[in-house]
Amino acid sequence: MAKNDLVFRIGGAAGDGVSSTAESFAKMSARSGLHTWTYSSYQSVIRGGHVWTQIRGSLGPVLSHGVDPDVVVALNQQSMDVHQGDVVEGGAIVYDTDGTKPDPAKLRRNVRLIGIPLRKKAQTLSPNALMRNTVALGAVVKLFDIDFRHVESAFKDIWGDKKPEIVQQNIAAAKLGAEAVGQMGGSLNLGLPYSNEAKYLMTGNEAICLGALAAGVKFLAQYPMTPASSILHWMASHGPKYGVVVKQVEDELAAMNMTVGAGFAGVRAMTATSGGGFCLMVEAIGQAGMTETPLVAVLVQRSGPSTGLPTKTEQGDLNLALGAGQGDWPRAILAPRNPEECFRQAAQAFNLAEIYQTPIILISDLYLGEGYRTVEKLDFNVPIVRGMMAADGGTAKDFMRYRITESGVSPRALPGMKGFQHVAATDEHMENSELISDVLAGLPEHVEERRKMHAKRMRKLDGLRKDTPPPELWGPKNADLTLLIWGSTWGPAHEAIIQVDETEGVKVNSLEFPTIFPFHAEQTEQLLRGAKQTLAVEGNYTGQFTRLLRAETGHKADRFYGKSDGEPFTWRDIADHILEAVA
């Protein structure tokens, strides 16, 4: 079978510039016309520790970061030790001959050793230590036969017109690397027919920012936390141009409460965080549910519990999102599977939040949030629906902010609207905002008032269920096995399904859930009816989604594969479990 992809991995110590070199390569891959996917494995320290990034470029749609690399760049001995054995037959390892040594006994067959005095070569051009990465990058570009113009344009993007001498130095350094490969056997001759038609490349977090902008977000309050911080960074530099107030605040308590205040005042408002920060937000997100204030909360999961593995991925915060806040209040939880869906769902979340006047949670994870993927051109022409406003028909005279309605949605009014003054209250209240606890508690009417108001709010779940995307069945109808998946597991799961079909003829499909809550139980039961055997695959220990599915439908997954070691699923992980299940 002709090879249709390339896999490149670079490893080094934190502070060695691994991630920026990898990002440059990802850009070159996307500009060569390859569908591209990256995964960075890194530490929570700024210097020291081992970090690596893997980039996969493919002629067809790419679904995961792949498994074994064609080329490894080992910037230090540890990287050599860790990664040399993974390089595929006929692949290559690029390393610095000063201080790094391969162990031929650990290599697969025909792995080419491209030892280059990276640092020494770089120093002939510049004293900047990171320049040696550029020499290595030049070698990799040559090994993969990538057009050198993409190297030049990548460097111009980074340093721009302001520092032409640095651009030139880096181009020269990359040439030194390429020449060295030329003298040591030349390229790998993978024969990939690059179209050189550039593709859009972005992270899931960036796609969420773009979706939010398309929907007209005007406010983001956030406290830094990996892997959600890049949302704050991107919005801080781009937001003000689009009239978005972007604020780093004192803590996540403030982040959520400010978002509530902004939502109440009438702008489309959002916050973003990871599990630890979301823990601090739970009281305030319940406040939004109770006061019927629209907002969007992005929860980019990392490994827990507690500080956990700060730079590693997991899907372990689903229960947190489902149960956030005391008491029962209506919410929707959307789980994008890829950057395109991050964009679409972020935009949709603002509509849902305003139509149903309640918080919408977008749950993603490090693998999706921080990984770069090529995407189709995003369509910014998204529908914008702002929900029911009191001034649209009603008069100020009979306005009651929490009027009991069939849909559960009451007419909303924003501060500044004359005659519609009201108090939004976190205490349980009556239609006119008057507090039940103060005025009525103790009187028999209290019971009825409370019951009515609580039911009104909860009725919004019916509408939310109708307006959120239903579960989808992907793959052949008559399959031997049905995977049950949500979120970022999508890519590796699809690839595993394709692989087991191609190599073993095993027919597998997957039932996937772009909406986690409100749960679409009826459709799920229908889609599960034909399933011969089910295998739930999720990135956590206890099967948080698998249990929700059982609670909502009674379906107990036949098998469960949970992974919470910090590394994302590879397609091979999932394929192994598929084959075990159908054996």
């Binding site: 406010f219 605040v249 902004a262 005042a265 005659g419």
Partner: protein, 294 residues
């Protein structure tokens, strides 16, 4: 001259639920007097509060209100102000709410110098939860939660804290003198920047020490004693008089005011376009935005 808004325009249909004699009545009255004097439009006024007896205040006025959760009134107010800086935003609450559970937000809101007016009904006790110690309870005070030795911590001094944190209008008022309180509140609302008015507001039910009489015997008016409220050093010297240095004389009035500091809203780049709540939604030229991803 006939005023557009009568005093009663600002009253809601809901009667205050406080104990008879509670100091919070005076604060409500002072606030109502101040907004009446300024003839503020009720629909452009947003009053945000937390949780506590005092935090029920927004319900008793006919303006917009947000009765938030305990300790979080300030960030809710900051978010609203950023979304629509044209709103007049006033925050009300208790000492537990603002100086205890919410003290982090208190400091940060002041260092940002938001154009927000903050009225704390400081009764040196937790009223709503029936009488536990508060962060401003005096040392030695016996409460439900400190029944044996009394409070063994030092009290928070909100005035010094405000001065140190960047508030640009810092005052203390007393519920026994509504007229002066109303004047301080009015000036605070008019002030361009963060105004703290710490209102000594006796809890007649749970605080038997810091009563109206306790204050009447001790308070004096800073302005009458010639305090220069533009002098920060002098303000600090006055601030620490009570409760740190002694317990016999309690300064009331304006400690400090400066108009020389830009507000957060003045500096926030996104607000240069006008109130976010009135900006068009969406992206006009997505291709320009997408270019960096190509």
């Amino acid at each position: 001259m006939k005023l557009e808004f009568e005093m009663d325009t600002y009253k809601s249909e809901i009667k205050p639920t406080w104990c008879p004699g509670c100091g919070d009545f005076a604060v409500l009255r002072a606030l109502q007097t101040a907004i009446h004097a300024l003839q503020l439009e009720p629909w452009n006024l947003l009053i945000v509060s937390g949780i506590g007896c005092s935090s029920n205040l927004p319900h008793f006025l006919s303006t917009y209100g947000f009765h938030a959760i305990h300790g979080r009134a300030l960030p809710v107010a900051e978010g609203a102000k950023l979304a629509n800086p044209e709103l007049e935003v006033i925050v009300t609450g208790g000492d537990g709410d603002g100086y205890g559970i919410g003290v982090g937000h208190f400091i940060h809101a002041m260092r940002r110098n938001f154009d927000i007016t903050y009225l704390v009904m400081n009764n040196q006790i937790y009223g709503l939860t029936t009488g536990q110690a508060s962060p401003t309870s005096e040392k030695g005070m016996k409460t439900k939660s400190t029944p044996i030795e009394g409070v063994i911590e030092n009290p928070v001094d909100p005035i010094s804290l405000a001065l140190a944190s960047g508030a640009t209008y810092v005052a203390r008022a007393f519920s026994g003198d509504v007229k002066t309180m109303a004047e301080l509140v009015k000036n605070g609302i008019q002030h361009h920047g963060f105004a703290l008015i710490d209102c000594m507001s006796p809890c007649v039910t749970y605080n038997k020490i810091n009563t109206y009489d306790f204050f009447r015997e001790r308070v004096y008016d800073l302005q009458k004693e010639g305090h220069d409220s533009s002098d920060m050093k002098a303000a600090f010297a006055k601030a620490i008089e009570w409760p740190f240095v002694q317990r016999d004389r309690i300064p009331l009035g304006l400690f400090y005011r400066t108009e020389d500091v830009p507000t957060y809203e003045d500096l926030e780049p996104a607000l240069k376009k006008g109130p976010p709540v009135r900006q068009p939604l969406g992206v006009e030229n997505p291709d320009e935005l997408l270019r960096e991803f190509l």
